[in-house]
Structures are given as C-alpha cells and as structure tokens.
C-alpha cells in the first residue's frame, strides 16, 4: 500500500513537472500579457511534431533538437503575434477567445492535412530504457529530463522577468500599457517578444514530452485545458506559482487516476478550479492587485 502511494506520488511529481513545463509559457501570455490564447495546446502539439520530424527525418535527439526548436518556435511566436494576436490585442476578451479558437482549429487541421491522423511516437531516447530508482520507484531518464528541464526553464524565466531590463519592461507593460508607452517602452516589441518567448518555451516542452507521449493532431485541447487550469490555479501572474501548481495538479491527477473512474480524472481539477475561482480567485500564489 505504501509502495503504491510513493509510486503515485513520484508519478505525480513527474507528470506535474511536465504540466509545469508546458504551462509556463501560458503564464507569460495569459497571466502577464493578458492575452487569451485558446490555441496554446495546439502550439504544444506542433512542438511535439517538430521534435518528431527532426528525430525521424534527421535522427536528431529530441533534447538536442531543442537547440533548433527554441529559435524556430521563437520565430513562430513572432509570426503569430504579428499576424493573429496584434489585430485582436485590444478587442474584447470574447473576440480574442474566438479568434484563438479559430487559430487552434487551423493549426489542428494543418497538422491533419500534412501529417495525417496517425499517432506519432518515438522510442525512448536513452537506449535500454535506463532510469534511476528513487524510493523503490523506477523513473525513466526521459521522465527525469522533464523535471530537469522544467526547473531551470522556470528559474530562467523568473530571473528574466524579475531582474532583467526587458523583463521589467514586460511586467510594466502588462500592468499599464499607457504608462509603459510614456516611459519609452516599445510596447509592440514587448508583445511580440513575450509571445515569442512563450512559444519557444512551448516548443521546448514539446520536445521533452514527445519521448513520453504520442502526438496526433487532436491532442492540443487536452493539454491546453490543463495549462489553463494550472495557470489560473497558480495565480496567473506568478511564474513560480505556475511551476508549483503544475506539480500539485500532477499529483492530483495521479491520485485521482488511481482512485476515481477514468472519466472523472479531469473533473477533479475542474472542481478544484471552480472552488478556487469562487473562494480564492487570486489563485494559490497570486497577489491581489490593489
């Protein structure tokens, strides 16, 4: 019994770091830049595909392909911002939501059209399925990598936002765009940088996730919904909050997967989401704005 508990816990932490990995980008866009991007999940899907093709066609190890994918997705983020997000930046939330729903549909069917509905998966990257053992539970290197990459990514983004000039400019813009403009901040540039960074982080997440889960054009929505739950629960503006909440959600997912019938798995975090929205809307780690 104890062993199962530990197994579920460790599984939850690993899963949680994956959740954190792909949710951090959303904190930046949604939490800080206040852009409702319902296509977030589809970016994750594309990240996984990109990594898959680099591996299948050119044999590049997914962890190495991050070197290619990060700048590639940085660019994709830039394009998205310029052509899709920019026009709707000042539209009402509903318009942003629907426009990004449309974007998600486009991305999904683009994938379907070019890469077919076949699920794509790769063999484990570390031959022989090595792993480490922690507390009697086996963790594969791939899963470990998820945690190993999520942590510094989180720290980097946190430091970037808190201490660098650009990061501060980003936060300033999110709090008051007019004031930021008056302070000489190039707001347009800030927005595309934010989106580009977010997109790059999602691309990286995709690379890390691919060795563990298969990808097909329709999985975007599953990931996307989790990302929103994690970000909102975490307190939208807090990068660290997203990371920790991701882990928490991963643990909840793990235990509810064991205890509850499968169909209620996602419901458990929706219920938690509703409760938090009703009783503590700033999230677990958010700070109430004055």
């Amino acid at each position: 019994m104890e062993k199962i508990f530990i197994e579920l816990l460790i599984n939850g932490i690993v899963l949680g770091s994956i959740f954190a990995l792909f949710s951090i980008g959303l904190t930046l866009i949604f939490g800080i830049m206040k852009i409702v991007n319902f296509a977030h999940g589809e970016y994750i899907m594309l990240g996984m595909y990109a990594s898959f093709w680099l591996f299948s066609l050119m044999g590049i190890n997914p962890y190495l392909s991050i070197i290619i994918i990060a700048p590639l997705f940085f660019f994709i983020g830039y394009l998205s911002q310029k052509f899709v997000i920019q026009p709707i930046l000042n539209s009402p939330m509903v318009a942003q939501l629907l426009a990004t729903v449309g974007l998600g549909i486009v991305m999904q069917n683009f994938a379907l059209l070019f890469w077919s509905a076949d699920p794509r998966s790769i063999q484990e990257v570390f031959i022989g399925r090595q792993g480490i053992e922690m507390l009697g539970v086996k963790i594969s290197y791939e899963e470990l990598m998820a945690f190993i990459i999520a942590t510094p990514m989180n720290i980097c983004l946190f430091i970037f936002l808190k201490y660098t000039k650009l990061g501060k400019a980003l936060r300033a813009t999110s709090q008051d765009m007019q004031a930021a403009k008056l302070m000489g901040i190039d707001v347009d540039k800030i927005y595309w940088i934010a989106f580009a960074i977010s997109s790059a982080s999602v691309g990286i997440a995709g690379s890390v996730i691919l060795p563990i889960y298969p990808v097909n054009p329709t999985i975007g929505i599953n990931f996307g919904l989790i990302a929103f739950v994690v970000v909102i629960l975490g307190g939208i503006t807090s990068i660290n909050g997203t990371f920790i909440t991701g882990i928490i959600i991963g643990i909840i997912d793990s235990f509810s997967g064991y205890l509850l019938p499968s169909v209620f798995k996602e419901s458990s975090f929706f219920i938690i989401l509703l409760l938090i929205l009703w009783f503590r809307p700033i999230g677990l780690f958010g700070r109430a704005l004055a």
């Binding site: 709707i88 318009a95 939501l97 449309g102 974007l103 549909i105 486009v106 996602e266 929205l277």
Partner: protein, 602 residues
C-alpha cells in the same frame, strides 16, 4: 396610434415585423418542401436558431459569455430520453422535467460564477460542461451502455414523426415561441434590467438593479429553453451520444450563431444559425468530403477573420444597407409622444419646507485599505433639499466617501444613517438605491448599446410600471436637455451629453439624495455653464438633495449651499462657500504651505 398583433404583443419596431414575416414564411416552407435534405437543413437551422436565441439571453443580453450551454442541451436530451425509454413518459412532459433539471443544475454552478470576471466566467462554464459530461458518461457506462437509441415509433405522443416536415414545423413553432419570449422579455422590466447588466453591471446596480438576481433569471430562461431544444434534438436524431451533445465545439457554435448574426439582437441568432448551417454543410460537401482537413481549416480561418473584421456580426454589416427598406415598413411608435403625464412626483420630491431636516448623517466613518486610511473619522450631516459640495485635493477621499455612501464599499468603522436608518451594513448598491440614494460616476458609465431613452428607463422602472416609467423618463430627458437625442445609442454621444445622461440616470430612480461625482470633469466653459443650468433646474423642479464632488471652484461655489472640505481623508473645513474660500487651511491644502504663507501675507 399603436399597432399590435392579436396576442397583445406590441410589435413596435420594424425589424421585429420582418422577423415574424420570415418566421411565418418558414412555416409555409416547412409544410410544402419535399426534398429531405433541405428539410433536414431546415430542422437543424431552426433548432440551432432557437439555441442561439436562448444563449443570447444570457450571453448577449446579460453579457455573461457562456461556453457551457451544450450541457443544458445534453441534460434535456438525456432526461427526456431516459424517462421515455425507461418509463414510457411522453417527451412532451419529459422535456419540461429536463428543463427543470437543467435550471437547477445550472443555478448550482452559474450563480456563484456570475461574479467572476469575464474570462474566468467563461472557464467556469467550460468546467461546468466537462463536469456534466463526466457525470452522464459515468452514469451511462455503469448502466452498461453508452449510446442511447430511441426506436422509431412515430406518434404525436412520442414526439416522433414519420415525415421530416412535421419536425420542421415543430422546430419553427418552437423558434417562434422562443422569439416571442425574447421580445416579451426585451420590452419588459426584466429585459431592460438584463440588458443594463450586460452593458454595465455597476451602473445597473446604481439604478436599483440587483445584478445577481437578474442574471439568475436570464440563466433560468436560457437553460430551460436550451434543455427543451435538447429534447427535440434527441427525438429528431433518435440517437443520443455524450460526445454529440456535450461537445465543446457545439457550445462554441451555439455562441457563434448569436455572435455571427449579431449578438444581443433578436434576429441575429436566426441569421447566424441559418448561414452557419448552410456554410458548414456545403463546405463539408464541396471541400470537406474530398479534402478532409481543408474544409475545417477554412472554417478556422474564417472564424478568425470574422472575429477581427466583423465583431458586430452580420447584422451590423447588413443593417446600414437595408435601413431604407426598414424605414418603409410600418413605423415604430414614438412612445415618448404619449401625452398622459400620469406619473406622480413622489411627495418627498416636492419642495420641502422643513429645510433643516437631516436626510443623511455620517458618524466617525472610516475606510482602510491595508495600511492606507482613505477616509478618516468623517462626521457630517446633510440637510434635506440642500446642495452640499464636497471638495478637496486629489486623493483626499471624496470618491471613496461616495463609494461608501452608495454601497460599493464597506466601511471599516463608523455609521451611515439615511433618514435615520442605518445603511452602513448594506453592502449592495442596488439595495441602497432602493432606499433612495442615487449616484453618478466620475467616469461615466452609460449603457452604451441602449438608447438614451432606454438608459433612463432602466432606473425609472425601479418604482414604476412600464407606461408610467416611460412618461417619467420623457420628463427627465427633457429636464436634462437630451430630448432631441432620445433615440440615439448612448455610445454615440459626445462627452457633454454623456454627462447629462449620467445625471438623467441618477435621477431616473427618483432618489431623495443624489450623489454627483465630478459631473463637470472634461467639459469646457460653455458646456459647464449649460450643465450648471441643468443642475439648477433639477434643484428647482425636483427639490431633491444633492451632494456634489467637483474640482471646478467657480461652479461649486456658486451652486452649493454648504461645502465640506476633505484632505487626506479627514474633514478640514465645513461651512458656507464664502467662508470656505477664505479658509487658510483649505487654501494650504490645495496650494501647499508656501501659498498659505503668501495668502497670509497678502
């Protein structure tokens, strides 16, 4: 001259005529068309139009953008199907039960979610959809099946028909019923209230609308209708599957019908539903079938482009083009020309002789925000019928005081007595309004998508029936000098008129005390003078007590009977205007110590 339809419905607006014309046309078409596929499209279109219209009540009118409405559809479908299959209960009754269940379940989740901000409300509705789906799937699996089949046994009692024509007619009749309900709502107090909430919830509260209550009403109606549509859905397809009814894309589509057509309007969802159904089907046929993903791809693109370029929906694009056509239809009745001045100014509003009677008393009022004390032990009294000015430098706590008086903020300490009744514990602006305190906002909060007339009507309905309210609104609009603009949409008005509208809204609830927050801000000298005439007019004609925050010294000195001066949350002076203007403390507060010295020396 009034035109009315035989049911007592007053069809006053050209557009609504057009809608009924088309609806009756649809009935004819449904009876005579033979092509099964066209009939299928008609059935779907009408069903979707009803869904879009029902959604519109909550999403368009009340401004609560729900992406969880498919849940109600599903609950309705499963309730009636289950009762029919297991107990042989006719779907005609089953659908009512389904409606009731939907409403009940909806209230559980929507009601606490109403106070969430925009996007979080949407997420809450999505969570709702997913939760309901999980529960139904779990229930179905534990029963050993998952998809529900309804055997084809046509009879009226079973709500199953041999010919598609019957289904089509049923759907049109349902749509007509839904439209009638919508029109009835729109022209009623509930309609005004719901739309006001959708436009600006705070402003609605301040004219006596309990936003939580009316959002609830909107939800109840919307959920009930959607659930009934669910029953029709089940009885038409004779098949219910969780992915079919509890689908997020379907929820989005329902919202899209209203948005694409024209959100908040009666015709919008009908247009949206018909166009989307046709587009969807033919896309699938011409492109989808052959090239699969391309059709959906184009759908996605179109969605994006549509949202960016045509946010007001197709109607906003068509309307200007067809305005001349609409003008040819039997015209709207100018409701404001009705001569019966049957409203009565409540007794208190006529000039009171007992000027020294205290209407408002504030005792040791304090408000802290964390470490900051915004209002510090404020004490003052307001006499009936007077104009009391409230001035002070920026940040001195004037607007906070108003927020405390009008119920937007809760005092940290102290008491507020209105007509000797303690109101400091009432934390609800609409209830304070009902007590008799009205208020305008510094940054005007008009109901942008409603006309000037409708804007005033919302508040007027607080204490009056519809026809009396109309007369009273006419009076108020004339009083503030907006008569010529009474049918203009508020969002089209320039600032000076918006300021007048704000005052008109403040007066619409016949308050005994009206709080005016910087009603002159942003106006030029001429505009200010005109507004002052309006205010004097009000004071003479209505004799209500006014409390005014103002920065323009000249205006407030000339208007006020007495003035209170605040600085850093405390009262530093009180008295007649002439006294205040010479008060050293006041001068130094505004101009700083240096000037105080200069004042003393001069």
């Amino acid at each position: 001259m009034r035109r009315s339809l035989k049911f007592g419905l007053n069809i006053k607006f050209n557009r609504e005529y057009a809608v009924f014309f088309f609806l009756f046309l649809f009935i004819i078409v449904s009876i005579f068309i033979k092509n099964e596929f066209v009939l299928h499209l008609l059935v779907l279109s009408f069903l979707y139009a009803s869904l879009g219209s029902a959604w519109n009540i909550v999403g368009g009118m009340a401004g609560q953008f729900s992406l969880g409405h498919a849940a109600f559809l599903g609950i309705g479908a499963y309730s009636s199907a289950f009762l029919y299959l297991k107990y042989g209960l006719t779907p005609w009754i089953g659908m009512i039960i389904g409606g009731v269940i939907s409403v009940f379940v909806g209230i559980l989740v929507f009601y606490p979610s109403f106070r969430l901000r925009e996007f979080y409300f949407v997420i809450a509705t999505i969570a709702f959809l997913e939760l309901i789906r999980s529960i139904i799937v779990y229930w179905r699996i534990s029963e050993g099946g998952i998809d529900t089949y309804i055997p084809f046994v046509p009879s009226l009692k079973n709500m199953i028909f041999e010919a598609k024509n019957s289904y089509a007619i049923l759907m049109v009749l349902f749509l007509i019923a839904v439209i009638i309900i919508e029109i009835l709502i729109k022209n009623s107090k509930m309609g005004y209230y719901i739309r006001a909430i959708g436009e600006n919830s705070d402003a609605a509260e301040m004219v006596g609308v309990s936003s939580s209550r009316y959002k609830l009403y909107a939800l109840i109606i919307s959920a009930f209708i959607t659930a009934i549509a669910g029953t029709f859905f089940a009885q038409y397809f004779l098949f219910v599957s969780p992915t079919m009814v509890f689908s997020f894309p379907l929820s989005v589509q329902i919202a899209l019908f209203a948005i694409m057509g024209g959100i908040g309007t009666v015709e919008g969802p009908i247009i949206g539903a018909i166009i989307l159904t046709i587009l969807d089907t033919y896309f699938r046929a011409w492109i989808g079938g052959s090239y699969g993903a391309v059709g959906s791809l184009i759908y996605g693109f179109m969605l994006m482009i549509f949202v960016i370029f045509l946010p007001g929906g197709i109607l906003s694009w068509i309307e200007p083009k067809f305005k001349y056509l609409f003008k040819k239809l039997p015209g709207p009745v100018d409701e404001m020309l009705i001569e019966r001045e049957s409203f009565v100014l409540p007794k208190e509003l006529t000039k009171s002789e007992r000027k020294n009677e205290i209407i408002l008393e504030v005792k040791s009022l304090k408000k802290n925000f964390g470490g900051l004390t915004a209002v510090n032990s404020l004490n003052f009294k307001v006499h009936k019928g007077e104009i009391l000015g409230l001035i002070g430098p920026n940040g001195s706590g004037k607007t906070t005081t108003f927020n405390l008086l009008s119920g937007f903020l809760k005092p940290s300490e102290g008491k507020i007595l209105f007509e000797n009744e303690e109101i400091s514990t009432i934390n609800s602006p609409n209830r304070i309004c009902k007590k008799g305190i009205g208020r305008t906002f510094q940054l005007v909060k008009p109901f942008g998508g409603m006309t000037v007339f409708e804007n005033v009507m919302v508040g007027a309905l607080l204490k009056r029936g519809i026809s009396e309210a109309k007369n009273y609104s006419a009076y108020i609009i004339k009083l503030v000098g907006l008569w010529d603009f009474r049918y203009e949409y508020a969002r089209a008005l320039p600032l000076p008129f918006l300021k007048r509208l704000e005052i008109a809204k403040g007066l619409s609830t016949s308050p005994k005390l009206l709080l005016l927050d910087e009603c002159m801000a942003g106006l030029n000298a001429t505009e200010k003078k005109e507004l002052m005439d309006v205010l004097r007019n009000i004071k003479e004609k209505l004799g209500i007590t006014l409390m005014i925050i103002e920065h323009d010294m000249k205006s407030i000195m000339s208007l006020s009977d007495r003035i209170i001066v605040l600085n850093y949350g405390s009262k530093i002076a009180e008295g007649k205007p002439e006294e205040i203007s010479r008060n050293a403390a006041v001068i130094s507060a505004y101009l700083g110590l240096e000037s105080e010295k200069n004042a003393k020396n001069s």
